[in-house]
């Protein structure tokens, strides 16, 4: 169609088509960030319009989905996040040491359905609540890793933080989830009371975890 004598680009190009392939992923992550479907839609829409405007900055061959998540995260921080930042939770010293992946065999069996080896349905329901209760940056890190399968480096780029911070957020987020699920299982009577992960005698704090990580790295 002619527009002031100039041809208007009327068809989506490859960039737009590829971007739209990630719409469900963007929407899913946005839902978990905003916790409200309508806000999530606005956030995704703003993200995609910004992506269109910034498309020259995208480097072909790199992970487009990760690039879109970066825009989504920045947009969320600038426009949608209500209230103050969660810096105390995020960067402050760990309030309480969490079990470092150390769960007894009995606890693990209690959480899983013995037949199907998947989480018990009641625990599954609890995941939804537990995720929403996680500090925002933990939640985003966990979702980007467990659901979107981004690498540590890609998540660090999305969240604009060092890789070590990503690892810490993932670790703490996952442990909080695990503890919450375990507490729920105890509440339901499907796991023993005296075996909660956070009460493990050998619980290791995050500082020690990081130190070990550095040692291994």
């Amino acid at each position: 169609m002619s527009f002031l004598g100039k041809k208007r680009p009327s068809r989506p190009d490859a960039f737009e088509a590829q971007t739209l392939e990630h719409l469900d992923a963007l929407y899913a992550v946005s839902c978990r960030l905003t916790k409200a479907p309508l806000d999530a839609e606005d956030l995704v829409q703003d993200t995609l319009v910004k992506a269109m405007r910034a498309r020259d900055q995208y480097e072909p061959g790199t992970n487009l989905k990760a690039w879109l998540f970066k825009i989504l995260h920045n947009t969320f921080i600038n426009k949608y996040r209500r209230g103050g930042l969660e810096r105390v939770v995020l960067e402050g010293p760990d309030a309480d040491p969490l079990a470092d992946g150390w769960v007894s065999a009995a606890s693990m069996r209690a959480l899983r359905d013995p037949e199907t080896q998947v989480l018990r349905p009641l625990v599954q329901e609890e995941i939804h609540k537990a995720l929403d209760e996680l500090p925002e940056e933990f939640r985003l890190a966990v979702v980007l890793s467990d659901v979107e399968e981004l690498s540590y480096k890609e998540i660090a780029d999305v969240m604009n933080c060092p890789v070590g911070t990503v690892m810490s957020r993932l670790h703490r987020g996952r442990r909080l989830l695990q503890k919450r699920l375990y507490d729920h299982a105890v509440y339901l009577g499907i796991a023993p009371v005296n075996d909660a992960p956070s009460e493990e005698a050998g619980a290791v704090d995050i500082a020690a975890y990081r130190a070990r990580k550095r040692g291994h790295g």
Binding site: F3, R8, R112, V143
Partner: protein, 277 residues
Amino acid sequence: MTTPCRTVACLIETYLDDELEPSQLLEVEKHTATCTTCRERIQLDRAIRMGVRRTVATRASASFRARVTHSMTAERWASSERAQVASGVPTWRAVGLAVAATVAAVMGLERQNVPAADGSARPVQANATPVGLDALIDQFVDWHARPLPPEITNANDLPGFEPYVGVPVRPGKLDPFGAKLLGGRILPVKEQNCAAMLQYTLDGSHRVSIYVFDPRVVGTRPSRLHRKDIGSTPVYVGQIKGWSIAAAERKGVGYAIASDLGDDASAELALAAAPGP
């Protein structure tokens, strides 16, 4: 000497993230080949991750997907337009080109019978089929209920929307109602056609959204609104989701009002937005 369980447990998370160094990877695999408990730890971790995945997986609705596609299309045009502006091609003021499928409000058009100053109003495609005013009114209500910030705040910039809307978009004379223009946006309606939204406040307390659209694209007879003649002019009014809606066509331009006012007030505003001869 085998690696202790506690050391392996610390590596499981990174192992499942596929981020272990090769030497650590060997350590974990060697240990779990013989240790049932650590294998179970891995299974539990996997189960929780699967649970998270199932919880988070959500599909965008078809209507949202359509809305996003519209706004990306609108942005594509806008980018093209900005490029033309940058390259020195004379054009109208590049205002409000960032069209997200969001709120837009168009209010009164006192000069709606004046043709676009530069004759740039985009003709409706001959094969355009109306998207349906009923569906559009639902959008209008949503956009009114959850307004986004305006793209422009100066009434003089409103004609910049006209190439996208296809009909004149001018500020109305709503002073008698105590109306104050907050600003305006454009939003995609169908394919290349947009509506303009003007956001007003009335007496400082009522929000009023006025939409200007091309009736050839969406039609003018909403089935859920009832006809109310003001003088000899038919106006369609009704309540949708608790909001008062009024729609009218004047001189080939479609107007819709969304507000928390009553039917009578909305109908009057619709006519004020589209003043008679």
